[in-house]
């Protein structure tokens, strides 16, 4: 008579597929996961505390480094909060420009997520490189806009740092033409590959009630056929002038999460085309008379949230009338989406652990801040 006992394995913080420095204490019964205990904080840099000692413009550079895969979206969320706090009237061209930048960043972020899915499934880098190649072209566009590729700091209160150079527009057209083909390629790889579909479909199913109760947002929620998109529910910037679909999937498994991301990237391209139709010449930011370089908002607080690439990304700022925020808090979608990790993983096999984990599309820079 032999007895078996569960084995507890420490995965991370140094591990090839934890998307950063994440640690999980996982208890296995054979290959089956029976318990997961996430341990995070290894990338904590105290961004929120650091923000209290910087001026409102300087905090912008901290937001770049939170979710370093979608800096433009972080910038946008922070700037919306600052504008709300100071009652700044943004200049239209600046808003259109930052919407274009944000949607490009969303495509780039979803490409990274999908590429790393196939990497986590065990393909040795080939599909990942195909996804990253398209992202490179988008980063080249960012380089034209603001000189930086990852840590952009492109936005300013009421608009953007500077107007796009002339060569940006033809380059943008070319990238927008290429993205749908790249997405087709990726989608064909996802839904056309027997191994990928059989490994992702029906794994880590989350019920919509559970996800709503855990306040999960973003593509993860929409993969469970919950129609919740802040761009549609609570339009910020000029999203109320734009028509776009919100792709939903009914099965709420790993496959659905990635399918929704690819469809969403397609919609982003359509949104950018609509922005290009509506954008008009003008100033890209209010004059220094309206928004001084050193902002001193009235005492008060403001919360602004956008639909980030991972979910609802919100910034809560409290001002005491000085040049630095009294308190800055980030509602980080990566961290909050992580709360259902145990529900997702328990009952699945070791092989699916990192696939399910990656399907949250979390970024440790944002989880630990």
């Amino acid at each position: 008579m032999s007895t078996t006992e569960p084995i507890t394995v420490n995965l991370g913080p140094q591990h090839p597929s934890t998307h950063g420095v994440f640690r999980m204490r996982v208890t296995f019964d054979g290959e089956e996961i029976i318990d997961v205990e996430p341990v995070f904080g290894y990338l904590h840099r105290g961004s929120e505390k650091l923000a209290e000692e910087r001026t409102y413009t300087q905090v912008l550079t901290l937001t770049d480094r939170m979710d370093y895969v979608s800096s433009m979206l972080n910038n946008q969320a922070y700037m919306l909060a600052v504008e709300k706090l100071c009652n700044v009237e943004p200049s239209p061209r600046g808003v259109w420009l930052r919407m274009i930048a944000a949607e490009l960043q969303r495509v780039a972020s979803h490409l990274v997520a999908t590429g790393f899915l196939i990497q986590d499934l065990g393909a040795l880098g080939t599909p990942l490189i195909y996804a990253m190649r398209q992202r490179e072209y988008i980063l080249d566009l960012f380089e034209m806009l603001c000189g930086a590729r990852i840590t952009n700091s492109y936005l300013r209160p009421g608009g953007v740092f500077m107007d796009a150079p002339d060569e940006f527009w033809p380059a943008l057209d070319k990238v927008l033409n290429d993205i749908p083909n790249a997405l087709d390629e990726l989608e064909e790889l996802l839904s056309g590959n027997e191994i990928i579909t059989s490994r992702t479909q029906g794994v880590s199913i989350l019920l919509p009630e559970t996800m709503v109760n855990a306040s999960i947002t973003g593509p993860m929620l929409r993969a469970g056929s919950v129609d919740w998109d802040l761009r549609h529910r609570n339009p910020y910037d000029f999203y109320d002038q734009i028509n776009f679909q919100r792709p939903l999937h009914s099965s709420s498994d790993n496959f659905a999460r990635f399918w929704v991301r690819i469809q969403e990237a397609r919609e982003s391209v359509k949104i950018i085309y609509q922005c290009l139709e509506r954008i008009e010449p003008g100033c890209v930011r209010p004059s220094f008379h309206d928004v001084p370089r050193l902002i001193r908002p009235e005492p008060g607080d403001a919360y602004a949230a956008i639909e980030g690439s991972k979910g609802e990304l919100g910034f809560y700022l409290v001002s005491d009338g000085s040049i630095a925020p009294y308190r800055c808090h980030v509602r980080a979608p990566s961290l909050i989406n992580l709360t259902l990790l145990r529900e997702m993983l328990v009952g699945t096999l070791f092989n699916d652990l990192f696939v399910s984990f990656g399907s949250i599309d979390l970024n440790m820079g944002e989880v630990d801040r």
Binding site: S198, G202, N213, V226, D227, R233, N351, D352
Partner: protein, 423 residues
């Protein structure tokens, strides 16, 4: 007992040039006079044997170094980049540089490790792989030994690599490595059965277990006569050498490096070497058994044709590795027991019937047999694939209907609404 050595071209060449006068070295002019005086035949025998082993082992090592380089170049091509191109022409020496680097690294043995087993495991891993090559005919007269039980020898020797992986995993004293070892047991043992059974059809046609004999019996390559056997054997050998889509043991995205986690320096190097040598070894077996080995048009030497076929099989394996993700462990075991095992049984029955009908087939009858075997193979692969896929389709339906879940500012999840109301 040592008579087989004299059939080897290289051994004969060296021995006959050294030994004084031996009855083994006779040509049409009589005895061949070698360098050594008479009475030193035993020295010539030893030296020739040593040189043969030297050439043989170093040939394998060189082939491994070249195959690592070639694989990296191919990875580069598949991934839209250049690949290694710094060291030597086309980066040819990059894996030599790697080998030197590995040798000079610090050799770490973890404190939890079982020292004896930890040190034995790499040796256990690499020896069987070298032994595979000893029975493979690489051309006319280019083999170490033509065993009359060659295929059985290969099957029994390759099963030792599973043991080595388990020992390495256990001796590391590392939980992640133990996972890798347990997976290796499950996968390697499961795939040995279809691997052995897929060769039964070949044996029925060839009537011999000797690899040289099998090559000579192939009037047309056995891949045409035994499509199912080739299909199963190819997949099973991918599993045996831990290649994608069956690389569970060394699943990089899950286990880091699996049982290799705690190995460093040359012990790691030996594992690495064994892995690549095993890839070449199984390509060589596939070439010999299914692709008619060294046979080819007479314009080029037989060794060339063997190498050409070997490289083609190697490229196919690399191609699979570059484009496919990994399977889950339950899917891998299901494929072995519910898919490949049944396919080999179908193949054995079909081949047995064919061999009973045509015991001594003419060329025309061989082609008819090939046609019938293909007619059996394609539908059975399709049917088995459909049966395997059926379970997955059921699990997809486990999700919800297409109705969007109602949310809005006023509709929260029911449980949440109740809680708010109570307060």
């Amino acid at each position: 007992m040592t008579d087989f050595l004299y059939e080897n071209v290289i051994f004969r060449l060296i021995y006959c040039n050294l030994s004084g006068s031996s009855d083994k070295c006779v040509n049409e002019y009589g005895y061949v006079q070698g360098i050594f005086p008479a009475g030193f035949e035993w020295l010539a025998f030893l030296l020739a044997g040593f040189l043969l082993a030297f050439i043989f082992i170093n040939g394998i090592l060189g082939a491994v170094i070249l195959s690592i380089w070639g694989e990296r170049r191919l990875y580069g091509r598949f991934q839209n980049r250049l690949g290694p191109n710094r060291w030597g022409p086309w980066g040819l020496f990059s894996s030599v540089a790697d080998a030197i680097k590995v040798m000079f690294k610090e050799d770490v043995v973890p404190s939890d490790a079982d020292r004896l087993l930890f040190n034995i495991a790499p040796i256990l891993m690499v020896f069987p792989v070298f032994m595979i090559f000893s029975v493979i005919p690489m051309g006319i007269g280019t083999f170490v030994v033509d065993l009359n039980v060659g295929l059985l020898f290969i099957l029994s020797v390759t099963s030792m690599s599973g043991l080595a992986v388990v020992i390495a995993a256990w001796a590391s004293g590392n939980r992640i490595a133990i996972f890798s070892g347990l997976r290796a047991v499950a996968v390697l043992i499961s795939y040995e059965i279809p691997m052995a059974l897929s060769l039964v059809g070949v044996l029925m046609f060839a009537g011999t277990l000797s690899l040289g004999g099998i090559v000579e019996q192939q009037k047309i390559p056995f891949i045409l006569l035994q499509p199912l056997g080739f299909f199963v054997f190819f997949l099973a050998s991918l599993a045996e050498i831990n290649r994608t889509p069956f690389d569970l043991t060394e699943a990089e995205s899950e286990l880091g490096a699996g049982y290799l986690n705690d190995y460093s320096s040359m012990k790691f190097g030996i594992f690495f070497l064994a892995e690549f040598a095993a890839t070449i070894g199984s390509s060589a077996i596939i070439t010999t058994v299914f692709l008619s080995g060294w046979k080819g048009p007479d314009i080029l030497p037989s060794q060339f044709w063997f190498l050409l076929k070997l490289v083609i099989v190697l490229i196919a394996i690399v191609w699979v590795r570059m484009s496919w993700p990994r399977l889950r462990i339950d899917q891998i075991l299901e494929l072995a027991w519910k898919g490949l095992f049944e396919l080999t049984l179908i193949n054995i029955v079909a081949t047995a019937i064919l061999v009973t009908i045509w015991p001594n087939p003419t060329m025309g009858e061989i082609w008819i047999m090939a046609g019938i075997n293909w007619l059996v193979a394609i539908p059975s692969v399709i049917v088995v694939g459909k049966v395997l896929r059926r379970k997955d389709n059921k699990t997809i339906q486990a999700g919800r209907d297409n109705e969007p879940y109602p949310v809005g500012t006023e509709t929260l999840a029911p449980s949440l609404v109740n809680k708010v109301g109570e307060k």
